[in-house]
């Protein structure tokens, strides 16, 4: 799951060449912007069947927190 999630996350934000840590604050990435956010929404829906409402999404800060939320919603 973690590997699949990281792969999808990197693809959405075009971070393929980078090392991603679960403790990274994803909004701090230079590549994070509203267009990248759209890609992330699409890939979470497509790969994991998960849609996270904005209010909930805004509470998530790190890559790891996002992954936990996705896992929780898949269950």
């Amino acid at each position: 799951m973690e590997e699949k999630f990281i792969k999808a996350f990197k693809e959405a934000l075009e971070l393929e060449d980078r090392t991603i840590d679960l403790t990274d604050t994803f909004r701090d990435y230079e590549e994070w912007d509203s267009l990248g956010h759209l890609s992330l929404i699409a890939i979470l829906d497509e790969e994991f069947g998960v849609v996270i409402e904005q209010a909930e999404f805004n509470k998530l800060n790190t890559v790891g927190e996002l992954m936990v939320e996705v896992k929780k919603r898949m269950a």
């Binding site: 509203s34 267009l35 956010h37 759209l38 497509e46 409402e53 904005q54």
Partner: protein
Amino acid sequence: MSLLSFNGIGISGLSAAVPTNTIDNLAYQNALFGKEVAHDIVSKTGIFERRFAPPGMCASDLCYAAAEKLLTDLAIDRSEIDLVLFISQTPDYRMPATSVLLQNRLGLSKQTAAFDVNLGCSAFVYGLSIAFSFLQQGGFRKVLLLDGETRSRVYSENDRKVAYLFGDGGVAAVLERDKKFGDSYFSLNSDGSRENLIKIDAGGYRKPSSADTVASRMVDDFGNVRSEEHGYMNGADVFNFVIDEIPKDLRRLSEYAETDLHSLDYYIFHQANSYMNNYLVKKLKIPVHKVPTSLERFGNTSSVSIPLTIVDKLKLQLKESNNVLLCGFGVGMSWASAILEMRACQISDLVEL
């Protein structure tokens, strides 16, 4: 369950008008945001050009031009028009209703019913459902549906989240009862709990216009600037809304219509941006060649985008009979879908003003 069905009512003609004034998105606001921002936005949204109405030109002027063209092409006896509907969120005045002004301007009889519908991207489908409902009553002969927007004036050119998306246009449709038209089905929806996704906060009666509400201010860390009387949009949440609600609504409508969602001839979606629409089409497993788009030329024209796409892209493609899906979604949030037969529909050449 807001589901409606009709038989023997349809669209006999459709026309559209756009301003000639063309905005090249790749060159737009480069001095402020830089070329790269424009390039990134264009490549994701697919919106290369838009049309902006010059000062003094209103949505109603575009609708008027489209209506004159259509009524002439169809050689319609204007005394047979019993209802004129004007759909817009950019009317001429707060009062009176623009539909009433258009009744006079188009030389329609005083016995014409006229009213406005204040909805955004869902409104063409909503408007059709209203027209069909009136025509189901024996007393109404023809309905003139006018739908126009000058969305270019709603948003701040200094807010990159919205500055590259919206354009202006107006359409006219004539609807009537005729046994040649087959079955049609509508699904209408609303969710006011999501009012803040796309909104203009001030300038209405809840928060009246004042010096404060027209003052521009920086609204985020990206340096985007707008006033409280400009529209704003939370694009990510809108996208969430669309991928969540639209497939559900289309399934509900296709079950009600007892129609396989994949059996239709054309699927015309609201033209928001190509990234969202492409994703939606992929998720719905609809063949791309059955999904016409016009956003590359006109951007997001709100409620106008569905009929404008038909005029721009399907004029030469339509056969004698075509089963189509129409689906509009946006500000409200409000969304509506229809499956209907377009039969022998007269589509006028695009009017440029």
